[in-house]
């Protein structure tokens, strides 16, 4: 076995082992429950770097093992290393490790900590498996696992009924999409067992079949990446703990959809891409507009994630696969950072509301980190957000979608400034409360600072406005100067506009012009109520008809039993009683001879004599 395959096995085994060990030991020693998983996550991170280095050095594309055979088709366990899988693997391992560190301090003294860390480890394992999979069946297995871990982690707070409701909703919506994945798998299998992604790329399948397959996969992508109409689960998923939201629902799991569309880009026909683009655009708009109205800071971030995902899908639908993948990577960094910072804010100032959070004076480092992350979200130059957004914009050919892109960009700026208003007091008239020194544990702010620093452009390219390295690696068309300048102007102008709105205190009141679209309510009425009605009807049918049938049979049984008892009591017992009665009579009769009554003696003697005479006659 080559060293690379050994490392892959270790990479996958590490978080899984950590998860199991934490579950078993962690219950006994709570202190170990936080330490072991963090060590496991760190080792996973190291392994991911090693794999990345090794595979680029040896330029080995894949490792694989024989798995099983059905009929004549052989299915293998395979892991691929290319420009898509390796970066995502590193990002997943990094953010997982940072979230582990963060969780050490976030969950102080929580009794069910072992359960949390083990599920987190399981998630890391599943996500890494998903990223590296070279086989669609294998990928599907990890896809499902990731959905299950998401369910477990959203519903982590068992006492909250909203949490379990949100977990159920996310899982069911995911399942709807997974049916699409299964249809695609079935079609591919019937085409001759074409499950290896590398072999799929080179195979020839007719356009119609490709459309069918890609539409099915698109369904899975929509549900996993929370696109319209499967988007309602993502804001509700914020019921889970904040580190979970950071890891799963901003950086990794929801990005799996975008990752998949990029991996399987050769399957997507223009017709499918059209659908993807429209749905992505709608989602982006919905996400952005809702983010303008939202008061809860975590839900605001969730709507923002929704909007960015929509943008990614829209760009992918315009055949800009690699560009959306790059944005996926950069979005993962600053969105995870924003979620973690939101967790710090909520914990320290005990408030969910964006407006209420902005009334206290914040420590300087918090202000700086939040600003960097928000600017990255906006896509301001000097951040990676700008770089990736530029690449995306360059890929979009159609004017309509470009227009939507810039509109969404503006909306992102507006809600990002809302977030910024939490730490930077825009309106001078408002006096800030002076709170004493706020002490935040090192474990909490270290990941945040790392992610904020990672959002700065310096590490990726010398120029703040374009990245040569990125366009080389992913074969992206670099945006030309006009586009770049337009981008800078647009973003800066938007920022100024937002700044003036924030100064007037208007920024939090933008949302009041927007109507509240109760999409969830609509879903409830059209889909959920009829299903419950059918379930109720079948239950009533079961109770009435089937149970009545059972009762009838029981009744017949009972009647037979009663008849048997009557028969036994009266007839059989009657016969025995009769025999006993006869015996009693005979006994009574014979007793006369020894009863001690003189007169009966005389009587019987006379009778005997008479009979004797009669006989002797």
């Amino acid at each position: 076995m080559s060293s690379l395959s050994r490392m892959v096995i270790l990479l996958l085994a590490m978080p899984l082992a950590g998860s199991l060990v934490t579950l078993i030991i962690g219950k006994k020693k709570l202190v170990l429950a936080s330490l072991l998983p963090s060590i496991s996550a760190f080792l996973t991170l190291v392994l991911s770097f090693l794999i990345a280095w090794q595979s680029t050095n040896t330029s080995q594309a894949a490792v694989g093992w024989e798995w099983f055979t059905i009929g004549k088709q052989a299915i293998a366990l395979s892991f691929e290393f290319n420009r898509l899988t390796i970066p995502l693997m590193v990002i997943v391992a990094t953010i997982s490790f940072l979230v582990h560190i963060y969780s050490i301090s976030f969950f102080k003294g929580d009794q069910s900590l072992p359960r949390y860390y083990s599920t987190l480890g399981l998630f890391t394992f599943s996500m890494l498996g998903l990223t590296l999979s070279g086989n669609l069946l294998q990928l599907f297995i990890f896809w499902e696992l990731v959905g299950a871990c998401s369910y477990l982690l959203i519903g982590y707070y068992r006492q909250k009924p909203e949490a379990s409701a949100a977990a159920t909703k996310s899982f069911i919506m995911n399942k709807i999409g997974d049916s699409g994945f299964l249809v695609a798998l079935m079609i591919l299998w019937s085409l001759g067992g074409l499950l290896e992604i590398s072999s799929l790329e080179t195979s020839s399948i007719s356009i119609e079949i490709k459309t069918l397959i890609s539409i099915s996969i698109l369904l899975a992508i929509f549900s996993k990446s929370a696109q319209f109409p499967f988007h309602t689960w993502l804001p509700d998923a914020m019921e889970g703990p904040t580190p979970v939201s950071a890891l799963i629902h901003s950086a990794t799991m929801v990005a799996a959809g975008v990752f998949l569309i990029t991996r399987l880009h050769f399957l997507f026909t223009p017709a499918t891409l059209q659908v993807a683009a429209i749905v992505g655009a709608i989602t982006a708009l919905i996400g952005g507009l809702n983010a303008l109205k939202e008061k809860d800071i975590k839900r605001l971030l969730a709507w923002s994630t929704l909007s960015q995902l929509g943008l990614m899908i829209m760009v992918a639908g315009n055949a800009g696969f690699n560009a959306s993948f790059v944005h996926l990577l950069s979005h993962a960094i600053f969105k995870a950072g924003l979620f973690l910072v939101a967790g710090i804010l909520i914990a320290t100032y005990s408030n969910y509301d964006v407006k209420n959070l902005s009334t206290q004076k914040k420590p300087a480092w918090l202000v700086i980190t939040v600003s960097i992350l928000c600017l990255s979200l906006m896509g301001l130059p000097l951040t990676i957000g700008f770089l990736s957004k530029e690449f995306m914009a360059a890929q979009v050919q159609s004017t309509i979608f470009l227009g939507i892109f810039f509109l969404v960009s503006l909306i992102s700026i507006l809600y990002s400034v809302r977030l910024l208003a939490v730490v930077i007091p825009f309106g001078k008239k408002i006096e800030l409360e002076q709170i004493g020194k706020v002490s935040i544990s090192g474990f909490l702010f270290l990941p945040v600072i790392i992610l904020a620093i990672a959002s700065v452009w310096i590490f990726y390219s010398p120029s703040p406005v374009s990245a040569q390295w990125i366009s080389e690696q992913w074969n992206l068309k670099a945006p030309d100067n006009i586009h770049t300048i337009f981008g800078i102007v647009w973003v800066t102008g938007g920022l100024l506009f937002a700044y003036f709105m924030a100064r007037n205190g208007e920024i939090n009141r933008i949302g009041r012009f927007l109507p509240a679209i109760p999409f969830d309510h609509f879903l409830q009425k059209i889909f959920i109520r009829p299903v419950f009605f059918m379930a109720d009807t079948s239950r009533r049918f079961d109770a009435l008809v089937l149970d009545k049938g059972l009762h009838g049979i029981a009744y017949i049984n009972f009647s037979i039993a009663l008849f048997t008892r009557w028969f036994d009591e009266n007839i059989i017992d009657g016969i025995t009683d009769f025999i006993a009665y006869i015996s009693k009579l005979i006994g009574n009769l014979l007793r006369q001879f020894v009863a001690g009554k003189i007169q009966s003696y005389i009587w019987w003697t006379v009778l005997a004599v008479i009979i004797l005479f009669m006989i002797m006659r």
Binding site: K597, Q599, S600, V606
Partner: protein, 103 residues
């Protein structure tokens, strides 16, 4: 019916009635009365057949039966008195020391 024949019939009836009295009456004295009835019925029979056979022996037998009946009545009554004194009851049913009990 023959006038001679009527006597044995009467004797039979009288005998049966005497037997019934002995068996079904709940007094020791009544038993003795029944006995007398039975003896008298025997006498009736005798007189009938003595007349039929023109034999005086029958009538003499009647005389002796009469004598024996007297003796038996006297002794019987004495016994009845003793029994009454001993068992404090004149109901024959209650005098059941000879009764076989389950033992």
């Amino acid at each position: 019916m023959n006038p001679i024949m009527s006597l044995p019939v009467l004797a039979t009836v009288l005998f049966c009635i005497g037997l019934l009295v002995v068996i079904f009456k709940k007094n020791t004295i009544m038993i003795l009365i029944g006995l007398e009835l039975m003896l008298n019925s025997a006498n009736l029979n005798l007189i009938a057949f003595s007349s039929y056979r023109a034999d005086a022996d029958g009538q003499l037998l009647i005389l002796f039966i009469l004598i024996v009946a007297v003796c038996e009545a006297a002794v019987g009554l004495a016994i009845a008195l003793r029994v009454y004194r001993y068992y404090q009851t004149s109901i024959p049913e209650n005098i059941s020391e000879l009764k076989e009990t389950a033992s």
